[in-house]
Symmetry: C2
Subunit: 343 residues, 2 copies
Amino acid sequence: MNDSVQQKNKCKIIVDAMGGDYAPHNAVEGAILAAEANTNIDLYLAGQKESILQVLKEKNLQFDVNKIIHSSQVIEMGDAAATSLKTKPDSSIVVGCQYVKDKKADAFVSAGNTGAMMTASTLIMGRIPGVGRPTIGAEFPSTRGFCYLYDVGAGKDAKPQHLYEYAVMGVIYAKEMHGINNPSVGLLSMGEEESKGNEVTLATHKLLKNSELNFIGNVEGRDILNGPADVIICDGFVGNIILKFGESVPKLLKHLLQQTAKQSLIDKLKIGLSKGVLKKSLKSMDYQEHGGVPLLGVNGISIIGHGSSSSIAIKNMVFKAYQMFEHQLVNKIEKSLKNNLIK
Amino acid sequence: MNDSVQQKNKCKIIVDAMGGDYAPHNAVEGAILAAEANTNIDLYLAGQKESILQVLKEKNLQFDVNKIIHSSQVIEMGDAAATSLKTKPDSSIVVGCQYVKDKKADAFVSAGNTGAMMTASTLIMGRIPGVGRPTIGAEFPSTRGFCYLYDVGAGKDAKPQHLYEYAVMGVIYAKEMHGINNPSVGLLSMGEEESKGNEVTLATHKLLKNSELNFIGNVEGRDILNGPADVIICDGFVGNIILKFGESVPKLLKHLLQQTAKQSLIDKLKIGLSKGVLKKSLKSMDYQEHGGVPLLGVNGISIIGHGSSSSIAIKNMVFKAYQMFEHQLVNKIEKSLKNNLIK
């Protein structure tokens, strides 16, 4: 990376060229698509230089080779997160996070090993002062539009203070990135009454109730897809299970429709006819479309994508990183937690 | 109840005539439908005698009035579970559970206040020796047929031993009631690896691994609708949230289809055409169809139905109670836990 180049107002984004099942092809292509679409993005590619050059050649893509940050190692999808950081210090994930840590880049984007990305971002970039635990959210389609669930897997056995921090970060994200005014916050539990929930939920309820957040109380499982909260808070263990459950719904639907089709020719015809419409309607349940999620709470911008990310998904991840930069998400989270929104 | 009548081989089932949003009509009608269909059922109705007699008259139903167990009080749907047992000792729920406790009936079935039913069944019938906590399961449609999730709300903050007991009870239920040979058991977690999960899950994994159950290891959220386990175990807090999330999916689908229909007339026509097929396919996601769930682990048969149960649902609940009686579920659970399946 050419440090002498001063591009003050631009957002320096590093894309992990080696990240994802279809790397380096999709990663390189998606990254360049994003930079071409938004000239405020100062794009860098981290990874094995030779592989990147080959993709550029194959796909006939224009890219300044000085902006390739060569890293000799690759963290594979199956590598154990914690150990891979030690055994592969010259991997694109470690190098990318280090650049953000050193303020040589504003954001790092990767569709590589999720665990390694979370660990590297947290350990190398560090946490925003005031954040006990970073968090990853998921966007669920809902009858009101969308609902944002935190945490979906960055942590487990979260303490009430962690859940409170998730709420603060989730609210800032919803406000800044989605333009939601005064986002409402629900606490995921077994019943709407304040007295319903497990021990951690009961304690968290009190924290949220005494905060300056727009807390609307406990919400139930059904309220994710069809409820009053913009942001819903839960432990990462619960959120991860719900996210994966939700992702599997379209597959079950397909199966159920096939079973129905088997029983009657007319039904089969009807299902065949409506296939396209169904697909179109279910599009918002396809998490692939959303283009990666940020790890909120780390001291920098870290966007983690699905392993099977298409180049379009990579492009959207880069846009997301840019948007977070523009809205100064990291600063705003620090300020909100420092000012201690709790009354 | 006429105690002098000896009907040794029959199954004495009490149906809560006052239970459910459409009580006493649906409860009385559904109960009588069941008894008419299965003459091995010795049916009793618990509730306010006058109300029951009126329904019998209105609907022109034949029923031996000596089999009405009069109870003067009614636990309403909104009543607090614990206090209502004390303030309403002559309610149908308390009286029904007491009959089972006193061996004057084999089973009690109610679509009334779920919390009150769980509390009354647990406190009055008592727990099967060896059971630390009763559990309620849910049947999820899956690409393999069905998957049974325990616990979906009877407990929260469950200890590993409780989760192990849920597994034993769930396996016996799947085997006896659904004829599944050597049911496979999965532990719901954040990843398939043994090392993935929260503290309770990690400890439970060890218990299950060392048991004689057909334990296949951790499963993920996606495996409920599309995985290898017949029985999946989780804490009631998690299970309750997933159950309600799952129940809300059809509503979201309807909304998404409506949104698509708004955008194009052709799509609207296609959706209109396939409406019936969709409904048919989604039928297995309609939990109403399943006719109530047993509270496993209490020392007797207790079937709890949805408040909005139809008379068909009530009928199915009675059949379920009968089937549990026939398969001697309570004895089998006691025996399995006494023999300590853990190696």
